[in-house]
């Protein structure tokens, strides 16, 4: 768990925004549970995990475009039913953004965006 390494500041982390692909084999509840343990006594200790589940998107060679899969047990184009193994999205396990809470005593340079 590398979350803290990403902050680069001593500010308290208010929230961490994550994207979890439907194929990543990570369950949000389990992640929250282990995050609470792992983040204890770190700047991320009370951070909220804002998790977005990314559905599986495949590219269909026949239709020539991307489609969201209806089921991850069926890798076929939802429109023409052609089997496809070309995954465009859905394996993500990404930290998208970190929300920092400013310490009340330190307000300078707060507008510079990383």
């Amino acid at each position: 768990l590398e979350h803290r390494a990403q902050t680069g500041t001593s500010d308290e982390i208010q929230a961490i925004h994550l994207e979890i692909g439907a194929l990543s084999c990570v369950h949000p509840d389990s992640l929250r549970f282990s995050f609470a343990l792992a983040s204890d006594q770190t700047p991320a200790a009370n951070a909220e995990l804002v998790i977005t589940i990314v559905p599986v998107v495949v590219f269909c060679d026949v239709c020539g475009r991307d489609y969201e899969l209806e089921s991850i047990q069926r890798f076929r184009c939802p429109r023409c039913d052609t089997p496809t193994a070309h995954i465009v999205r859905g394996k993500e396990l990404d930290i998208v953004a970190i929300e920092l809470k400013e310490k009340s005593c330190r307000s300078s340079a707060s507008e510079s965006n990383g």
Binding site: A15, C25, I72, Q73, P83, A85, L93, A97, E99, E102
Partner: protein, 235 residues
């Protein structure tokens, strides 16, 4: 004012970035040295170790240099079973961790003359979930499924089968006793991973091993043509 609005920092980084970087570096080294690395993944009890032991035996008999690394929570039983093949085998004990990570494999390689190998096999911890996300620098990820497990395993664990390059159905000598519906299993694999090549083997009787060994040799030829000049084809 003592309250300022929260700042949002866009970071866009992969949580497993560190593992992926180690794995990518290892993969480059393996490919540069001409070593074909396979990562074997299945549930506990599929028969990975027996299948791998017989694979090692066959490759040794064909004149290849092979070795194996095996991960388990506890005991070095599997490394000892693999060593019965005559190939060097190292055990990683994860002490509770349910999968192997790239740096664990990297540590095992230190001081080992792996670069002269034709094939290096990594037998993952028996688990159909967590190994999915952890790249070990392999060229081929092999998902194994035994006829005793049920034909719907690929549907239950689509993530793992989807990230695999090839599938192996093991213990086919028991298919009839288990009422294994081969067509259903093959269809389920294709549902979650269209186009995936499937090998059907019995490590006990040797059925199907020759096809599997020829596949490995053909993949080795792709990455290291020079290595395939000396060894012979399996009988």
């Amino acid at each position: 004012m003592n309250t300022t609005p929260p700042r949002i920092l866009t970071v866009r980084t992969q949580i497993l970035k560190k593992n992926d970087e180690v794995a990518r570096a290892m993969r480059s080294e393996f490919l540069a040295a001409g070593v074909l690395v396979c990562n074997l993944v299945s549930s506990p009890g599929t028969g990975k170790t027996t299948f791998l032991r017989e694979t090692l035996r066959s490759l040794l008999a064909a004149g290849h240099k092979v070795a194996a690394i095996v991960g388990d929570l506890e005991t070095d039983n599997d490394a000892r079973r693999l060593a019965e093949s005559g190939a060097p085998a190292k055990q990683i004990m994860t002490h509770g961790l349910c999968h192997l990570e790239a740096d664990m494999v990297q540590k095992e390689l230190v001081g080992w003359d792996w670069s002269s190998l034709d094939f290096l096999f990594i037998e993952n911890v028996g688990n159909l979930v967590c190994p999915t996300s952890w790249d070990l620098g392999e060229s081929i990820r092999v998902a194994l499924l035994s006829v005793t497990e049920g034909e719907d395993k690929p549907l239950k664990y689509p993530g793992l089968f989807n990230t695999a390059d090839v599938a192996v159905i093991t213990k086919v000598d028991l298919a009839e006793i288990c009422d294994f519906q081969r067509d259903v299993a093959l269809a389920n694999i294709q549902q979650v991973r269209p186009g995936m090549q499937v090998f059907e083997v019995s490590a006990k009787t040797g059925i199907g091993l020759d096809v599997w060994i020829r596949y490995l040799q053909s993949r080795l030829t792709e990455i290291a043509p020079h290595r395939m000049t000396a060894p012979q084809q399996p009988k």
